[in-house]
């Protein structure tokens, strides 16, 4: 079972390698990448250096070219595939059928993984993508453990699941909430709840109000910690209740499911967070390396150690973690 860690920069990539990642995933600067943030990601030269470094550790490097190509700038996606192949990367993570087809036809020996952005949540959908020789599918964070198990037992394609990090509660790649509010979405702009639309206002009683493109996402009392206004994690009103109508600010943590994921033959555990700092990547990678080593040695007697959970909680949104949709009682 592979530990796959995020790297939004060379320092984060080094942190992942030094702390025990089996593989890292990166993306290009620009619109081909669903984590299109200012100051992050690599250009073609940076990618060549990254490949050299990763291979010197004997590890693998995956490149996410996982947005949907636009009409007039299709060449940017094609060039991203060409640049990644020329740099000698091990894997491409792709969502768009057009990009998959191009990569499969032009580089038949390149290993292709289906990005979570393609929203493949069932065996028939996975079958659909076999025509592009997809070797592995990254599952959206909407399935229960029971559904993951059932898929693992049905399909002959390798499965990768999200193990830790920010929790997307919608089927990724099919969520248009961000463009509804701002005009920019992961699919069209590689960004969700983009920072340029965020506004903070102080309230008379010393609290804070957060807005996204003018829409109020949350209101915090003076003694509350104010979180980034990701639009699905705000407090809204339904009927007479004001609460986190879609989701609390919390992070996914699957440490407790590790033995089960291992027994079902899940090929890879993905850590979310290419937008995170090298220090974050280092700490998370260290914990998950220890946990995976432990489960692989003795899956029957695995228990998540308190100190691991303490480190992870500390690095989580609102210091809270959840098993998310994996857990049937999630509501």
């Amino acid at each position: 079972m592979e530990l796959l860690c995020p790297a939004g920069s060379m320092p984060a990539l080094k942190a992942a390698l030094e702390n025990g990642a089996d593989a890292v995933y990166v993306g290009f600067k620009g619109e081909t990448n669903a984590r299109h943030f200012a100051g992050l990601n690599l250009d073609a030269t940076g990618l060549r250096e990254a490949v050299k470094l990763v291979h010197s550790y004997g590890k693998k490097i995956h490149v996410a070219i996982n947005t949907f190509a636009h009409v007039r700038t299709w060449d940017h996606w094609r060039k991203a595939v060409d640049d990644a192949a020329a740099a000698g990367v091990d894997v491409l993570i792709v969502a768009d059928v057009a990009v998959l087809a191009y990569a499969a036809e032009r580089y038949p020996r390149m290993e292709l993984h289906l990005s979570v952005q393609a929203s493949a949540t069932n065996a028939a959908a996975i079958d659909f993508y076999k025509q592009f020789n997809v070797k592995r599918v990254v599952l959206p964070r909407v399935l229960s453990m029971q559904q993951v198990r059932s898929l693992a037992r049905t399909t002959d394609v390798d499965l990768e699941v999200f193990a830790f990090g920010s929790l997307c509660i919608m089927a990724e790649g099919r969520c248009y909430l961000s463009s509804y509010m701002t005009g920019q979405s992961p699919n069209t702009a590689g960004a969700c709840s983009p920072a340029e639309f965020v506004r903070w206002d102080e309230t008379a009683d010393g609290g804070l109000e957060s807005r996204l493109n003018g829409i109020m996402i949350d209101r915090f009392a003076a003694d509350e910690t104010a979180g980034y206004p990701t639009l699905c994690k705000g407090r809204f009103k339904v009927g007479d209740d004001t609460y986190h109508a879609l989701e609390e600010p919390t992070s996914l943590n699957t440490l407790d499911l590790l033995p089960e994921l291992y027994r079902e033959g899940i090929a890879s555990l993905k850590i979310e967070g290419r937008q995170r700092s090298p220090a974050y990547v280092a700490q998370i990678t260290r914990v998950w390396r220890q946990a995976i080593d432990r489960v692989m040695t003795d899956p029957d007697h695995f228990t998540a150690q308190d100190e691991w959970n303490a480190v992870l909680a500390n690095l989580s949104e609102g210091s809270q973690t959840t098993l998310g949709a994996y857990h049937r009682k999630w509501k």
């Binding site: 949907f68 190509a69 636009h70 009409v71 007039r72 299709w74 768009d96 059928v97 057009a98 087809a101 191009y102 952005q117 393609a118 929203s119 949540t121 069932n122 028939a124 959908a125 079958d127 659909f128 993508y129 964070r141 909407v142 399935l143 559904q147 059932s150 509660i169 919608m170 089927a171 790649g173 099919r174 969520c175 248009y176 909430l177 463009s179 509804y180 509010m181 701002t182 005009g183 493109n213 829409i215 109020m216 949350d218 209101r219 705000g234 407090r235 809204f236 009103k237 339904v238 009927g239 004001t242 109508a245 879609l246 989701e247 998310g324 949709a325 049937r328 009682k329 999630w330 509501k331």
Partner: protein
């Protein structure tokens, strides 16, 4: 331009559904989509009921398509999907590529739903090659994006092989989740939802703390808080949109069909209500509303 009714996205009592389709049978709508497209627990009508209604609508002269679910997770949902794909008589709207897999086994043509992720000419061309006869354009694409896409030579050359359809009226489906937000709003777990969606025939409105309608909760689906309404944009759709979809609402759906028909060339513009939007089509945030100047302003 042709007009269609999309599948009923909410959970209505059986009698309401039957009544709605009796009215639709008597209307002059061109095409009707029906079937459960949101949640497999909603079983006021079963596949056989939809199939019977589909036959009745066909008898009434409508083109009929069976819509399938967008978020398919459980093996039981795939078995139900197979029933739709194996129906033997009606075109199927594939809202997930899983449906396309099943339809391709039998080399059947299909309607490609709005949640298929088709954003460029190469993808569109691939799906047409797989048998897509009609493409429902993703909600977030603008008129400009569609015009650019359809003008690409590789699409122009096959433009006779497929139709385009756009959802132009109703609350837009914007996201699907493993979580049921309606159950959550009643503080129930998804497994113990007690089918509470039936209490909300138009979903549950979510407002911001300062009073703006932000979303509508419809079970596992999140919809736009505003009602999308492109009634004043129909003129600009000629040559781009072959069929315009209205999403059924508990009341006035047929009145809206008439309003749309009467304004196809801009003869009867309509002033949008406060909570209506047209932003996506105009290349703005989806919730934006642009009202053209009306004659009665003068």
């Amino acid at each position: 331009m042709k007009f269609s009714f999309g599948p009923i996205l909410y959970f209505w009592p059986r009698l309401e559904v039957e009544k709605f389709y009796r009215e639709v049978a008597d209307s002059d709508v061109d095409c009707v989509y029906l079937g459960e497209a949101v949640c497999s627990k909603r079983r006021e009508l079963k596949f056989d009921d939809y199939f019977r209604i589909a036959q009745e609508l066909r008898e009434a002269g409508k083109q009929v398509c069976l819509s399938t679910m967008t978020l398919l997770e459980a093996p039981s949902e795939l078995r139900e999907l197979r029933k739709y794909c194996d129906n033997g008589e009606f075109l199927v709207e594939a809202n997930d590529v899983g449906a396309i897999s099943l339809l391709n086994e039998q080399k059947l043509p299909f309607v490609g739903g709005a949640a298929l992720q088709i954003y460029n000419q190469h993808s569109l061309r691939r799906f047409i090659g797989m048998g897509m006869k009609r493409w429902v354009i993703p909600a977030e694409l603008s008129r400009d994006w569609l015009a650019e896409l359809l003008a690409e030579p590789m699409i122009e050359s096959v433009r006779d092989c497929f139709e385009t359809e756009l959802m132009g009226f109703g609350h837009l489906p914007l996201a699907w989740s493993g979580r049921c937000f309606t159950a959550r709003s009643e503080n129930r777990a998804k497994d113990q939802c007690e089918l509470c969606c039936i209490k909300y025939p138009q979903g549950r409105t979510v407002t911001s703390q300062d009073g703006t309608e932000v979303f509508v909760l419809n079970g596992i689906q999140t919809q736009s808080g505003s009602r999308y309404n492109l009634i004043n944009q129909l003129q600009g759709m000629h040559g781009l949109v072959d069929m315009l979809r209205l999403s059924p609402e508990p009341s006035d759906s047929l009145t809206w069909l008439q309003r749309f028909r009467m304004n196809q060339d801009g003869q009867r513009p309509y002033r949008l209500a406060r909570n209506e939007s047209n932003g996506y089509w105009l290349k703005l945030a989806g919730l934006a509303q642009v009202n053209e100047r009306m004659e009665d302003d003068c």
